[in-house]
């Protein structure tokens, strides 16, 4: 892998950028691999990358039915934070946050992680109680999250409306300064490049149509639109399609897949310096490096794989944005789109071994998986390599729905995140 740097760019600039290598190769699938990852989104590619870079397993295929990074990775609003309530959640999201810091250097690919701060607004006494609970728990877990008065919130994000006359006046905010955003495509591409350079095969336009199991019940490989591919270990990282893939192995999941829409405005000069989220008013916003306001909120209400949703959902989202930022009514929506988010009953992910030997699953990230990408891939790689969970993902089992040991972040996840 040729290193990227400003010097490399200067060199290439002299020769019309003809010397760049392919960022990832497009090989034909082999008959068999040590590990197959189903799904070349951020989490799947990161899993392959860490299997190769930390566990010495490079005979890996990442199978993707479309184009890499084309699912939720390329459709999300790129919010990164780790100020979750429960120890288990804080553990995995902060593991990810620590990896975000330094990921560009690790991958030699600028993923544009920008710790611009994530500010969550409190609009009523209940919000204040909930956020304070988070702040105190985070502090004792070593995770930054601080309380801001309305005036401090306004100072941190000048266009915010903190008028007492607002329908839901801002009563304060919880700010995680290490939170922020990253460039979604770059994350997928950076991991793909890093994995590909270590020998991982990323096979696009290759849809998994079945999971094969040997006589002893263990996984033996997958059927695909490009033929059978063998592997003793298969990791399913298929986001909204996780139920579909897991069903192929006879494993029924506690998941439902919903449309989640987002939109961007036309680009404008910098105006929103951080990420602002509101559960009560129900929307969130940040501004991309390009200048687009990046906006999202909740899911549509029904199970769907259509990657589209209703206009009324966007209406509610923009109602909320213009309530928080009345100066934005003259801004224009440039693009809207939908993803398919797989939601568990407790709004926490499943990263675990499954009842089928050799089959592992990483799913259920709901509306907030992007932020976990490096951490998720990292511990999932460990789970696959060692055939046992990393302590960080050990609580995120499938069994918790039988025992009742849920990790219920639902209250904090009332708005997509």
């Amino acid at each position: 892998m040729k290193k990227y740097s400003v010097f490399a760019i200067a060199r290439e600039a002299m020769r019309g950028h003809k010397g760049w290598e392919e960022q990832w190769t497009s090989p034909e699938p082999k008959k068999e691999y040590d590990v197959i990852i189903v799904g070349a989104g951020g989490h799947g590619l990161a899993t392959a990358y860490y299997l190769a870079s930390e566990h010495g397993i490079t005979n890996i295929a990442v199978l993707e039915k479309g184009w890499l990074g084309g699912g939720n990775t390329g459709r999300n609003t790129t919010i990164i934070r780790s100020n979750y309530l429960y120890d288990e959640s804080a553990g995995i999201y902060d593991h990810a946050l620590k990896l975000w810091d330094g990921l560009s250097q690790e991958l030699n690919y600028n993923v544009m992680y920008s710790a611009r701060g994530v500010m969550m607004l409190a609009h009523n006494v209940h919000d204040v109680q909930v956020f304070k609970r988070h702040i105190h728990a985070n502090r004792l877990n070593g995770i930054d999250n601080e309380w801001l008065t309305p005036e401090e919130a306004k100072a941190f994000c000048p266009p915010l409306n903190i008028s007492k006359e607002a329908r839901y006046p801002v009563m304060g905010a919880a700010l995680q300064r290490r939170g922020g955003t990253a460039r979604h495509d770059a994350v997928a591409w950076g991991y793909a490049r890093g994995a590909s350079a270590r020998g991982v095969h990323i096979i696009q336009n290759c849809e998994v149509t079945g999971i094969k199991r040997a006589a002893n019940g263990a996984v033996s490989g997958v059927e695909t639109t490009r033929g059978f591919i063998g592997a003793k270990k298969v990791g399913v990282v298929a986001a909204g399609h996780s139920s579909v893939i897991m069903n192929m192995a006879g494993v029924r999941m506690p998941l439902e897949s919903y449309p989640l829409q987002a939109l961007v405005s036309e680009p404008i000069k910098p105006v929103v310096p951080c990420v602002v989220m509101s559960n009560t008013v129900h929307a969130y916003i940040s501004q991309s490096d390009k200048g687009e306001l990046v906006i999202g909120a909740g899911t549509d209400q029904y199970v769907s794989y259509s990657q589209t949703g209703g206009l009324h959902i966007l209406q509610h989202t923009l109602d909320a944005i213009c309530e928080m930022f009345p100066i934005f009514t003259r801004m224009k929506m440039l693009r809207s789109w939908g993803g398919i988010v797989d939601v568990t009953p407790d709004r926490s992910p499943i990263l675990a071994k499954t009842p089928v030997k050799g089959l592992y699953v990483n799913c259920g990230w709901g509306t907030g998986g992007f932020k976990a990408t490096p951490g998720s891939g990292n511990v999932f790689a460990h789970t696959i390599a060692k055939d046992e969970p990393h302590p960080i993902n050990a609580p995120f089992t499938l069994e918790r729905f039988r025992t009742g040991r849920l990790i219920d972040e639902a209250a904090a996840a009332a708005v997509a995140h």
Partner: protein
């Protein structure tokens, strides 16, 4: 006075009515009916913007919504500055103020243009490869610079004083696009009598008839026919004609979003006019008649101001009467640009040369151009445009290479062919198909009840278009229930026909070249950027798009997508359909947030629910808090009192004398029917069958998973009638939960549920004097302890109006809740208040209510519980019927983790220092000396200063809490650790004697 480039006798605007405007501070004059673009061009102004990345000078590419370059800021006043307005769409009004964007210090001299010089460094995706060292510098150094350079216009800085309207509409046939096709379809559909809506984004209908000088329909000039047809349609009751209206999104089941620009073109719109109006239309059938968009030619420096689409120049001439230059070159790969050259030539503009990439084309327009004496060069290409702030020349070469010559020009008109506008069809989830012969994506398989007609469907020629459109309109109307129409199909006497064209880079910009031949103007994507993306492994068109940002600018790739695709396909060595088209996403053109939001701003953002006594409380100076949609009185400060003083006074007064509290927001459900008790048994953990009429019970509702969902006091009014109360926030979901079980799991039960939350205003009267306050106003109810003990309910009258009088207490004092019909609520409150005043009672708000209940250890669901708490955790096991064999949640409660040891249990906490009030949400540890991350064993759920106890009190969820009574635990805070003792949850009157006190 005519502007320099306005040609007298040309165009359709009347010169009589002028309009003054300014651009970048310089005054100009246009005429009524101009767009900002036509008015500037009439004044010879081409330079209007700077590009996104390289800050290259830019002029007008188009005359319509596809415009990538000419984006300006329109300033109405201080609060109404609109960024990124397409000058080609903005209609001129007298006094219009426009400014250019993304330049500093000025449009002509922009420092950012240094990026153009350094552009070899800024190749596609360069930012992914650098700015990584040192690590901190991305956020603090590089990113701020990149951000400052990016973006186009500037956000408004003040709240928008304009308003936006919204409406739903239904029709049998919705026609999108008001060119010849759309009008023909609308006419055919309208004649059948069905409801028709016809929408077009332009101010005038006609579409390409606005510039097609050769069209004649029904014996009239094409444009005149269009106006006449529109006038007829407008006169019909069953037709709604919407101009300035963009169909931006096509959603499921023929639901289409339209935005009508109501007043952006008016000088001083009255307050009665919305700025924009959203139409959400549900149509039985949709006819898509969105036309086609001309593509530019891809050659070096094709972005110089003055280089534009041929059809745009024609529109400026034939509609606005404006010549885009005096010495114009033409570069084309199809016939339509000839028509532009001919029209301009006839208007007296010199045509320097037509450069045609094709080898030996023939046809009437070519003959006519030749007859007019225009120089025509076949098989040749424009390989470069000269000039900087304005095009000054074009360099022409044989297309396969060889010696070239430079021709001076002040404008270049180009046409690479026409791209059908399949955006809305594609948004409808229809599948496009590539027509190999015409090199176009056209509608293939349909997913909804719609049909595409005319140029967007690949129809060539006006005759074919009108034929197809009229038939489709009639068919759609018939399918939607229309009668047979009695009209006749419009007859096309003459029309223009477009031929094919080319896709991708032209000669001189092909593989191996490094020239800046723009594919996407706004985002500065050149042909070589696309090739580089492919070279770097981006084999999917989606990767190419994202890596280069081709097609992601505010014009949504209307002119660039097909060229980009063709270049990528060529580089990949694959046919175009195999590389695929990127997805078309709503909106078709950008729409304002305001238009989407409509009325839902300010007071209409969300309903504000107020109780019947709100006015009284407001007059008393109450401070309100938001609880769900409700405004509830939080506390009632007297003059000079802060919140704490007010709450302390209210708390003490209630326990000493009494207090009035508005409990109206609590949900109330009347459960009626012979099986009412059976139903209650299933929905609540408690037993109900044996509850006597006239008595009340505190009930707990679980979800099936065993966690507390809601609680409230339930009164049995009669054997078959319960009056159930819920939490304020829980009211709607509890009702839904109960209906769900009743309708789907227990439909055999004869019982019905009715929400009576708002039927009854509820005035809680609590405190030792409560009975004395109420009794004088009550008729027909014996309020003695014997006749009406704690937890009972009676029906009677108060102040002569019906009441459901509950004896119950959320304070631990003797207490009542007076339910009266809501319209009487305030007057009855006033009567009770007058009685209360005699005893020195107080009005109190939600904060005091919270303190008083915490003093008694009563929980608030949602505060002391959070969806993970069982009745046992909350110390409410007594409320779970032990002999019951079924209730919702019975099985969830016995799951392994719910019966495990060490669960968090609700307990009381007392700080060692009684003056210290814990913070709600504060975390609790057993060992304060441990390092971070600490092992947290619980958190404070409720915490108050209790004036009645003379100390702070708190409730907390603590792991194994009830086994820790008397233990010392710790609450580590940023400024020191607080010691607390675990206690019971009751801080006042543990024996409960005050209930009868």
């Amino acid at each position: 006075m005519n502007a320099a480039f306005r040609i007298s006798g040309a165009g359709r605007l009347s010169q009589a009515k002028t309009a003054s405007f300014s651009f970048d501070g310089k005054p100009y004059t246009g005429i009524a009916g101009d767009t900002l673009a036509s008015a500037l061009l009439a004044n010879g102004v081409h330079l209007v913007g700077r590009s996104f990345k390289y800050h290259r000078p830019r002029g007008f590419l188009s005359a319509g919504a596809e415009e990538p370059n000419a984006l300006v800021q329109i300033v109405r006043d201080d609060a109404r500055k609109t960024p990124n307005v397409r000058a080609t769409v903005q209609e001129l009004y007298d006094g219009l103020i426009a400014n250019s964007q993304n330049r500093w210090p000025s449009l002509a001299f922009d420092v950012g243009a240094v990026n153009d010089i350094a552009s070899p460094m800024f190749s596609a995706g360069f930012y992914y490869k650098t700015f990584m060292w040192p690590k901190w510098a991305w956020k603090d150094l590089y990113e701020p610079k990149i951000r400052a350079a990016a973006g186009l216009g500037v956000s408004p800085e003040k709240p928008d004083p304009d308003h936006y309207a919204s409406r739903y509409a239904h029709c049998e046939v919705l026609v999108l696009g008001g060119g010849a096709a759309g009008i023909a379809s609308a006419v055919a559909a309208a004649e059948t009598g069905v409801r028709v809506i016809l929408a077009d984004e332009q101010a005038e209908f006609g579409g390409s008839l606005r510039f097609e000088s050769g069209a004649r329909i029904d014996g009239q000039d094409g444009y005149a026919w269009a106006q006449a047809a529109i006038a007829r349609l407008k006169a019909m009751d069953n037709v709604r004609v919407l101009s300035r209206t963009t169909a931006f999104g096509y959603y499921a089941q023929n639901f289409v979003g339209l935005v009508e620009r109501v007043s952006d073109h008016i000088k001083n719109p009255g307050r009665e006019l919305a700025r924009e109006r959203l139409w959400q239309v549900r149509a039985n059938r949709v006819v898509i008649a969105t036309g086609a968009i001309e593509r530019h030619m891809v050659f070096a420096n094709n972005d110089r101001p003055g280089v534009m689409l041929a059809s745009a120049a024609r529109t400026y001439l034939n509609h606005y009467g404006v010549a885009v230059g005096r010495n114009v070159g033409v570069y084309t790969a199809n016939d339509s640009a000839y028509a532009a050259a001919i029209d301009l030539k006839k208007a007296g503009v010199n045509i320097a040369a037509i450069v045609d990439l094709r080898d030996n084309p023939s046809g009437p327009v070519i003959d006519e151009a030749r007859a007019l004496g225009i120089e025509i060069n076949f098989g040749r290409a424009v390989v470069s445009a000269g000039g900087k702030l304005r095009v000054s020349s074009m360099t022409v070469q044989p297309k396969n290479g060889g010696g070239g010559r430079t021709i001076p020009v002040d404008a270049i008109l180009m046409s690479a062919g026409w791209t059908p506008s399949v955006h809305l069809f594609s948004q409808s989830r229809g599948k496009v198909a590539f027509n190999e012969e015409s090199k176009r994506f056209v509608p293939g398989a349909y997913a909804q009840d719609c049909v595409s007609v005319g140029a967007c469907n690949g129809a060539d020629g006006l005759d074919a278009t009108v034929d197809e459109a009229y038939a489709a309109g009639a068919k759609a109307a018939k399918e939607a229930g229309g009668k047979v129409g009695k009209g006749a199909k419009p007859k096309v006497d003459a029309g223009e026909s477009w031929s094919r064209g080319m896709l991708g880079a032209g000669p001189g910009a092909g593989p191996g070249t490094t020239v800046k031949a723009f594919v996407d103007f706004q985002n500065d994507v050149t042909a070589k950027d696309i090739r580089q993306a492919v070279h770097e492994g981006m084999h999917s068109i989606e990767h190419v798009k994202r890596f280069t940002t081709n097609g992601m600018a505010t014009d949504q790739g209307k002119t660039s997508n097909m060229h980009g695709l063709a270049i990528a396909a060529e580089e990949l060595g694959k046919p175009i359909p195999q590389v695929g088209l990127t997805t078309f996403r709503a909106p078709y053109t950008p729409v304002t947030f305001g238009s989407i939001v409509g009325h839902a701003r300010g007071a209409l953002f969300d309903p504000t629910r107020r109780t019947a006594t709100h006015g009284w409380a407001a007059r008393q100076g109450a401070v309100f808090e938001d609880v769900g949609h409700w405004k509830r009185a939080w506390y009632f400060p007297k003059a000079g009192e802060g919140m704490h003083a007010a709450v302390n006074r209210e708390c003490v007064t209630v326990r000493k004398v009494g207090g009035l509290f508005d409990a109206s927001t609590l949900g109330k459900i009347e459960v009626v029917g012979p099986d009412a008790a059976k139903f209650m048994e299933l929905l609540y953990t408690n037993p109900w069958e044996k509850l006597e009429s006239g008595r009340c019970r505190y009930g707990i509702m679980l979800r099936e998973d065993g966690f507390i969902y809601d609680d409230g006091v339930v009164g049995r009014l009669a054997p078959d009638r319960f009056h159930v109360t819920t939490t304020t926030g829980g009211a709607p979901r509890v009702m839904n939960h109960m209906e769900d079980y009743l309708q789907t799991e227990f439909p055999h039960l004869n019982v019905w549920l009715t929400s009576i939350t708002e039927q009854w205003a509820v005035i809680a009267v609590q405190g030792p004097k409560s009975r004395d306050i109420i009794a004088p106003l009550v008729e027909g109810i014996d309020m003695s302890d014997e006749a009406m003990p704690h937890m009972s309910v009676r029906e009677g009258k108060i102040c002569g109006v019906p009441t459901r009088l509950f004896r119950m207490s959320f304070t631990g004092e003797r207490g009542f809740e007076v339910n009266v019909p809501a319209d009487y609520g305030e007057a009855v409150w006033e009567a009770l208040w007058a009685e209360g005043q005699k005893h020195g009672a107080t009005a109190y708000g939600t904060e005091t209510m919270h303190v008083l209940r915490a003093e008694k250890g009563y929980i608030i669901v949602g505060q002391d519980t959070d969806g993970t708490v069982t009745p046992n955790d909350a110390g409410l096991d007594w409320a779970v019927g032990k002999k019951k064999t079924d209730f919702v949640g019975i099985r969830g409660l016995t799951r392994p983790d719910l019966v495990a040891k060490g669960r968090k249990q609700l307990v009381g906490l007392k700080t060692k220092d009684p003056k210290v009030v814990l913070e709600e949400g504060a975390q609790i540890v057993a060992d304060p000396k441990q390092p971070i991350p600490m092992k947290m064993i619980g958190h404070v759920t409720s915490s108050y200063w209790s004036e009645n106890c003379g100390r702070s009190i708190a409730l907390a969820l603590v792991a194994g809490g009830r086994d820790r009574m008397g233990q010392t635990l710790y609450v580590p805070m940023p400024n020191g650790t607080i010691e607390v003792e675990v206690t019971g949850m009751v801080f006042v009157d543990e024996k409960g004697e005050r209930l009868n006190g």
